[in-house]
Amino acid sequence: MENISLPVPSAENDEHLIQQFKDGKSDAFNALYRRHLPSVYKRVRYVVPEIDVEDVTQEVFMAALKSLPSFRGEAQFGTWLRTLTNHKVAEYYRKRNRKQEAPQVPLFEALGRTEGNPSKIMEERIILRNALQDLPDQYREVILLRFAEGLQFNEVAKLTGQNLEATKSLFRRAMSALRNHLDK
């Protein structure tokens, strides 16, 4: 399988594409989709069961497409998309909790449908994902930015408007809280 290295989305390019989209060039959204799909997909994969990752990812972009005309550029597009992703993930869990009467897919069946045989890694992923879901938002966010999106700590600091020390401290507290959840 050929892996592609997409150019890192820059705010200037995003702004240009958004403007083009607002001017009626619908192809500009395709370019935005291509640029941001990898990061949205990675983030969703950390918090949503494997079987629903693609669906939730597409929902995020559908919501982005609908809301883009009213996007005023007060935040960067990437930040806006990240917030939209978090909303869609929360919505996914709300809907899932409401459908409790629906038969639950057995764990091993769900694993088997996604990546062949159930494995220890997949079980571990489920455990970590559940623990991550139970964390306070700011803890979950710093972990996702570092692990799922692969941002460096200085990039996380810049994005969250904190200094580097505060960001590292937040990360350590977040990992500590996560570990406590895992030990329960």
Binding site: N30, P38, E54, Q58, M62, E124, L128, R146, S176, R179
Partner: protein, 154 residues
């Protein structure tokens, strides 16, 4: 003369964990540092668990192309739905049923009002009218319950 060594910056547990995470994420380290204290070791273990459990390789071109094609199909489907005439939508039909039911209630009230009020003040022969009023009230109640039920149905 005594030589002074330049002060080495003291690394806090926050720095140590952040450095460890950086090295793990860069693939430069595959094991927990043995010199770490117990708490730090526990956190490093959690970092390692994350690294092992979640894939870090980027999306491959094939999958990206397929997802983009799926997305375009979704857009087409959604635009088809939104371009349907309003009267074909479920929401419109639900509203129509509710409006019809509301009109039916108003008509029913209008029709039974004379029966309900004609008994007031009458002294003779009111038993028949009273039982008739009760039946009508029961029907009215039933209609209200039906409208409420229709309104709540998804």
């Amino acid at each position: 003369m005594k030589m002074t060594q330049p002060d080495k910056p003291i690394q806090t547990p926050d720095d140590l964990l952040a450095d460890f995470t950086d090295r793990v994420m860069d693939g430069k380290i595959a094991a927990i540092a043995s010199s770490s204290d117990q708490e730090l070791r526990g956190l490093e273990e959690t970092v390692m668990r994350f690294k092992r459990a979640f894939p870090t390789e980027p999306l491959d071109e094939k999958k990206l192309e397929r997802m983009q094609a799926d997305f375009k199909t979704r857009i087409r489907k959604e635009s088809l739905i939104s371009s349907r005439p309003a009267w074909q939508s479920r929401q419109f039909r639900q509203r129509f049923v509710l409006a019809f039911a509301a009109i039916a209630i108003l008509v029913a009230i209008f029709m039974i009002t004379p029966f309900l009020t004609s008994g007031i003040g009458d002294v003779q022969g009111t038993a028949g009218l009273q039982s008739q009023s009760i039946v009508l009230l029961a029907i009215l109640g039933g209609v209200i319950v039906l409208v409420f039920w229709l309104g709540r149905r998804k």
